[in-house]
């Protein structure tokens, strides 16, 4: 992994025609210039900026956790912490639902795990037609900074798998910063929560997975 450093808008990240501009960057002449504030990363000559702060930007195929805000005649309005509220259509529910009984499937205030399947000018469309998606009925939900989600998941899920293993809980991380934790005991859930908050606090440390392993050993040793 190359050295990552904080970049500010307008700063030249790389020079030379062999580099390609990725997300958050622009090519000006033979220079790659940052267009936003974040960490610069280069892999295979592709230069991009990883955001450090700011609001959550929804993307297609993101798994998110949201709260039912309202019920319309053909679906639910879900608040996923974005500027536009997301819409979960009746047809995107994996079973037959009578139009008069929408609130029996999900009522206002219920939490739901969903996947973004489309973003257009009008808003965001959600789906729960996949494994692991749907209404949440048990467990706890915590909120972290959405920019720290990649760190919490780790490379190919290394971090989240470690936390799952150590705490014995089932965890789903929504890309919008909401995390669902489900364990057989409340103590385990709170333990997983503690671990995740530890990760978010230390999100600047490199080699974080090792650090977290050490932390687990320390806590378990007590």
């Amino acid at each position: 992994m190359t050295d990552r450093k904080i970049i500010i808008p307008g700063e030249v990240i790389a020079k030379g025609n062999e580099y390609l501009p990725g997300e958050g960057t622009e090519k000006q002449g033979d220079e790659i210039v940052a267009m936003r504030y974040g960490l610069a990363e280069e892999s295979n000559k592709l230069v991009k900026v990883i955001p450090l702060s700011g609001v959550y930007q929804p993307r297609r195929r993101n798994v998110v956790i949201g709260k039912v805000e309202n019920i319309t005649f053909n679906g639910w309005i879900i608040d996923i912490g974005t500027t536009n509220n997301a819409f979960l259509s009746l047809t995107e529910v994996p079973r037959y639902v009578n139009k008069d009984e929408l609130e029996e499937v999900m009522n206002i205030g219920d939490m739901v795990i969903a996947k973004i399947w489309g973003i257009n000018k009008r808003g965001i469309d959600l789906s729960i037609k996949s494994k692991g998606l749907g209404k949440i009925s048990e467990g706890i939900i915590i909120k972290i900074n959405p920019n720290k989600v990649p760190r919490t998941i780790g490379k190919e899920g290394s971090m989240i798998n470690l936390i799952k293993e150590e705490s014995g809980c089932d965890i789903i991380v929504g890309q919008n910063g909401l995390i669902w934790i489900k364990g057989d005991k409340v103590e385990n859930e709170l333990f997983a929560k503690k671990a995740i908050l530890f990760v978010t606090e230390k999100s600047f440390v490199s080699g974080l997975t090792e650090e977290v392993k050490k932390w687990f050993e320390e806590v378990k040793g007590k």
């Binding site: 267009m35 504030y37 702060s53």
Partner: protein
Amino acid sequence: MTDKQFKRPDGRKVDEIREMKAKVGVVPNADGSAMFSFGKTVAIAAVYGPKKMHPQHQQDPEKGTLRCTYNMLSFSVTERIRPGSNRRSTEISKITGWALEPVIMIENYPNMVVDVYINILQANASTRCAGINAAAMALAHAGIPMKDMVSSVSIGKLDKQLVVDVNKDEEDWEIGEGATDIPITFTNSGKLTHIQLDGKITTKELKEAIELARKSCKEIYEVQKKALKDVGGVE
């Protein structure tokens, strides 16, 4: 024109900026925030958004909107000022927006607004410049796409002498031709985004003032850059 013998009230050199302090992430609830100070002038900027524009009739379906609000807190000056907006703060809000608009790229956020709230905690002249500097950092911190950073400085003409970063004593200069205050904003790449002038100045002097500002903005940019890079600290 640069008179080495010229004495400024606080003993600074003619091209010396007051001590600058900058920090980002000062408002935990905002999406991005920053503090910037020139000596005793302290400004805090908080950025919220992009979020849906409210009231709805102000929504622009073509592009996003930048909404700046400049506010001087009632205790920021020696004699308490009435809180809330007034003629002066409305003007500065507008001007701040115009100074920042050329660098921020919110074309892809239709019907949305980026709110920038600038509060002056302590005023000792050059508050709008401190406000713009803080706002630029806060916008970057909020992850708003930007082409470049902007830095702002005020150039003063005291009698016939050009000075950088005027303070309150200099703003009230009454000897000779009196004081002319020229706030100027530059991008890091050297483009001018904002200049204001009310007072008397010759064309030649104005050109000199702009060059002086260009040089000073580089110094300010370094301070802003350092503050943004220090955040969180890659320990």
